[in-house]
């Protein structure tokens, strides 16, 4: 898979780090996000009414509002406004919506010269490339690459080496174009229905010049950009720069209520003072549907319309950081939320082309300023893509992968989605299954049939599962402090039995009566393959199996963070509200539970004393989204360990993702960031622990040191 090199990594990670710092400086960040979300929910709910209101506001102001059904309709209108009689210069400020409709090409048909004035967009126009990032379109281009491009195209007399020289050159070139321009075209970050005010969030000043320097202003925007009132802009103005590039606010937030009063000047005028020059301006707002009104009716895609295009979901995404928006994007949009946009605007075929790069790690959930559940949108689209595909299923392998889906997802997805069946078979046939899996011919078969990369080690199944080990066993705890079910997740039960055993021992040492009953797997595996029906069936069976234990007063303790995240987050969409609430409120991550026991008087001296042992700890992506990283660190420190934590967003393994041949290289490249952190002088001699199964597998393949789960540190 094509990756875009260092520039995109450095820049997206820089933006992401900037976001963490900038939002930390915003008082009541969570409540500002909630305000923003509520405004968007309300606006999309009332959209037809707001469009009507905006239309009369714009017309009262002396402008025109055109509601375009699709790209062709929008372009036809813009062509009419610009006119075909004379060839004109149209200057543009950055607008993803104008990229979506390809308005430049439409205007060029009539002989007009269309000039992008945002420096990044201009670089791409000169290079004839598409944006690789929705906010910083030329993020993949290094300074050297831009120098090379400009020298080749413009043959400048003075050398262009520094960023200052390149910027001055572009400013000069584009300044001339803006001075001779006839029409200014902008996008709109927001439009208020009450006053017809367009908010443009920029830093260069080109959007200001695009409007102030021309006598015809065309603003193109998706219908979803309307908010009810001017006051509603406030949370967005506070959030958009912080969430995107990590700036508290961008240099300019233009609040334009066209037609703007600024005089329309002729540069050569040496006579007339500005205050005596007319300010007659034409103004057109072109609102674009292009699939959005249908998205509004779609319960799963609707949230996409709340997106304010800040790019936080791109910057936070470990895979995006690696591959950039050309690979992780569709016709126009890129990053996690692009799946929703491209599915709604272009269709499933385009969205399906990059959707599998979302691993569901959920780091974008916290980063999104309007709290969009981006992983869920990706899951739903994957499910729809699966159902859309015709697949020839091998009968033998089909028997291995029974599932409840109406239509068949591709074989590879069925295999990973039904990993519970694989694990059961693996344990039943162990050690023969492990021997078989190691054979070259088997690996070649797995590679050919299922796209499982031969460079990955396969899990070793235990014939005697964790459940088998603790079945029928009486608790050694006489007067229990708490009573709990240890949830035997698929991996702990069949593969990583040691961490399950360690968990039981720790809990019992702290006075907990523990049982390890047989419980179905959570459905994380099928969900990650977009097999929602199968995942829902798992959720219902897990809920039914655990309900009697919860009713009996037992807590549910979970080792695997991705399964706890299922119970807390995704089950909300898979179960009825009461069942979800019951399981979510009674479930705890193992170290969170230990933290709670110690905080409530359990004796930490009954656990192993760390005696200052140096630990390097990698938390799990979904665990961090649930704000549960700190509990592990606190427990380890209380037990006398010295803990250093990683700060990468994801290990890159992400369940089945790293096993798939087509993503192996991306997975390893993402993991290298974690490897580098844990190989640095401050970490290279530390014992490595990680919370997630996938993280442990990835670390095992990246480091010489063998990693373990933190719970295993607490027993001798």
């Amino acid at each position: 898979m094509a990756t875009e090199g260092e520039a995109i990594q450095t820049n997206t990670r820089g933006f992401n780090q900037g976001r963490y710092e900038a939002v930390a400086g915003l008082d009541e960040y969570e409540s500002v996000k909630a305000d923003a979300r509520a405004i968007k929910e309300d606006a999309i709910e009332r959209l037809p009414e707001l469009i009507d209101q905006l239309r009369s506001t714009v017309e009262d102001n002396g402008g025109t509002l055109y509601l375009a059904d699709d790209a062709a309709d929008a372009n036809q209108y813009v062509r009419t406004v610009v006119g075909a009689e004379t060839e004109k210069t149209v200057v543009k400020s950055k607008s993803m919506t104008s990229e979506e409709i390809d308005v430049n090409e439409a205007l060029e048909v009539d002989g007009h010269d269309v000039v992008e004035t945002d420096l990044g967009e201009w670089v791409l126009q000169v290079a004839e490339e598409a944006p690789s990032h929705i906010v910083a379109p030329a993020i993949h281009k290094s300074r050297d690459a831009i120098t090379e491009l400009f020298e080749e195209v413009f043959e400048p007399t003075d050398p262009l080496e520094t960023a200052e020289e390149l910027t001055a050159f572009a400013r000069e070139k584009l300044g001339e174009r803006i001075r001779e321009a006839d029409v200014g075209m902008t996008g709109a970050n927001f439009i208020t229905a009450d006053t017809g005010t367009i908010a443009l969030v920029t830093s260069e000043g080109n959007a200001r010049k695009t409007v102030a320097g021309t006598d015809t202003h065309i603003a193109v925007a998706g219908v979803e950009k309307i908010v009810p009132t001017t006051e509603d802009l406030r949370p967005f103005v506070e959030l958009i720069g912080r969430s995107g590039t990590g700036q508290d606010i961008t240099s300019y937030v233009s609040l334009l209520t066209p037609p703007v009063e600024t005089p329309v000047i002729d540069d050569t005028d040496r006579e007339t003072p500005l205050s005596e020059i007319d300010n007659d301006r034409e103004f057109h707002v072109v609102l674009i549907d292009n699939g959005r009104m249908a998205m509004r009716e779609d319960d799963d895609l609707r949230e996409t319309l709340y997106c304010i295009r800040c790019s936080a979901c791109s910057n936070v995404c470990a895979n995006f950081q690696e591959v950039g928006g050309h690979a992780f994007g569709g016709e126009t949009y890129s990053g996690g939320i692009a799946t929703g946009w491209e599915a709604g605007i272009e269709g499933l075929d385009v969205a399906g082309g990059f959707n599998d790069l979302c691993t569901g790690c959920s780091r974008c959930v916290d980063a999104c300023p309007v709290n969009i559940d981006i992983p869920w949108i990706n899951t739903v689209v994957r499910d729809r893509v699966n159902r859309d595909q015709e697949v020839n299923v091998d009968v033998l392998v089909d028997g291995l992968t029974p599932d409840a889906e109406d239509e068949s997802p591709p074989l590879q997805k069925r295999f990973f989605g039904n990993f519970e069946a694989v694990a059961r078979l693996g344990s039943a046939l162990a050690p023969f299954s492990n021997w078989l899996a190691e054979q070259t011919v088997s690996r070649q078969l797995l590679h050919r049939l299922l796209g499982i990369d031969p460079r990955r080690d396969l899990p070793t199944f235990h014939r005697r599962t964790l459940v088998d080990r603790f079945q029928g066993r009486e608790t050694p705890v006489d007067t229990p402090r708490r009573r709990a079910v240890l949830y035997p997740d698929l991996y702990t039960n069949h593969v990583q039995i040691d961490r399950g055993t360690a968990a039981v021992r720790v809990l019992e040492a702290l006075g907990v009566d523990v049982v390890v009953p047989s419980v179905p797997s959570s459905g994380r595996a099928p969900l990650s393959q977009g097999m929602i029906t199968t995942a829902r069936s798992h959720a219902e069976r897990v809920s039914d199996t655990l309900a009697p234990y919860i009713a009996d007063g037992r807590d549910v303790v979970v080792i695997e963070p991705s399964d706890l995240a299922m119970f807390e987050r995704e089950y909300e969409r898979l179960l009825d509200p009461d069942a979800h609430e019951r399981l979510a409120t009674n479930s705890y991550e193992i170290m969170e539970y230990v933290f709670g026991l110690l905080a409530n008087g359990a004796d930490s001296t009954s656990l192993r004393d760390g005696e200052g042992t140096d630990i390097a700890y990698h938390s799990h992506c979904q665990q961090r989204t649930l704000d549960l990283e700190a509990h592990t660190v606190a427990v380890l420190e209380q037990c006398g360990f010295d803990v250093l934590t990683s700060d990468v967003e994801c290990c890159g393994m992400a369940g089945s993702f790293g096993y798939k041949s087509e993503y192996f290289d991306v997975s390893i490249a993402v993991g290298n960031e974690l490897r580098d952190q844990f190989s640095a002088p401050s970490a290279r001699d530390r014992t490595v622990v990680a919370s997630g199964t996938s993280c442990l597998e990835q670390l095992d393949s990246l480091l010489e040191r063998r990693p373990s789960h933190p719970i295993e540190l607490l027993v001798d």
């Binding site: 281009k141 831009i146 010049k209 802009l233 609040l255 500005l274």
Partner: protein, 166 residues
């Protein structure tokens, strides 16, 4: 100095903007020290404040394009962001603040609001009454599109703010 004024000065410094706080009678002198090259300005709607004699008030387009410094009033300022709110007027305030390399904004001390919430209370009232336009400007024009952060992309590369006491 008020709390807002103090915060405003600090916020401006953090976005690379120099501030002068002076009584009305000293504005001309303070501005004179900040001028770079040919200077243009829009007429200040402020009886007690005057501009240095060298400044071209209400310039022609050709004078505007020849100028390096532009002086305009700000409608108000937002203390915790270090932002000045520049109205787009028929007198060409937007042009004078934008087509120059150095922008000097003049704001009355009493027009400094604490935060964005107060700013939008004010925008909401003003825009629904006047249907006007304004730019919330914070620091100089900037871009990171050419490989590293550069100030002075299409707009001013430096900004100064003169706060008029009162």
């Amino acid at each position: 100095m008020s709390t807002e004024q103090q915060l405003f000065t600090e916020s401006l410094a953090s976005v690379g903007v120099e501030t002068r706080r002076v009584p009305p009678a000293a504005v001309a002198e303070a501005i004179a020290e900040l001028l770079i090259g040919e200077t243009v300005a829009v007429t200040l709607d402020h009886d007690d404040v005057s501009l240095p004699d060298t400044v071209t008030i209400d310039p022609t387009p050709s004078e505007l394009h020849a100028a390096q410094t532009g002086i305009t009033p700000a409608a108000f300022a937002i203390a915790d962001y270090g932002s000045v709110v520049l109205p787009s007027t028929a007198a060409g305030s937007e042009l004078v603040s934008l087509y120059v390399d150095h922008h000097i904004a003049i704001v009355d001390e009493q027009d400094i609001v604490a935060d964005m919430e107060h700013a939008f209370d004010r925008f909401g009232r003003q825009l629904s009454e006047t249907y006007g336009s304004a730019i919330v400007a914070t620091g100089p024009s900037a871009t990171a599109d050419m490989g590293s952060l550069v100030t002075g992309a299409h707009g001013p590369s430096t900004v100064s703010v003169v706060v008029v006491e009162g």
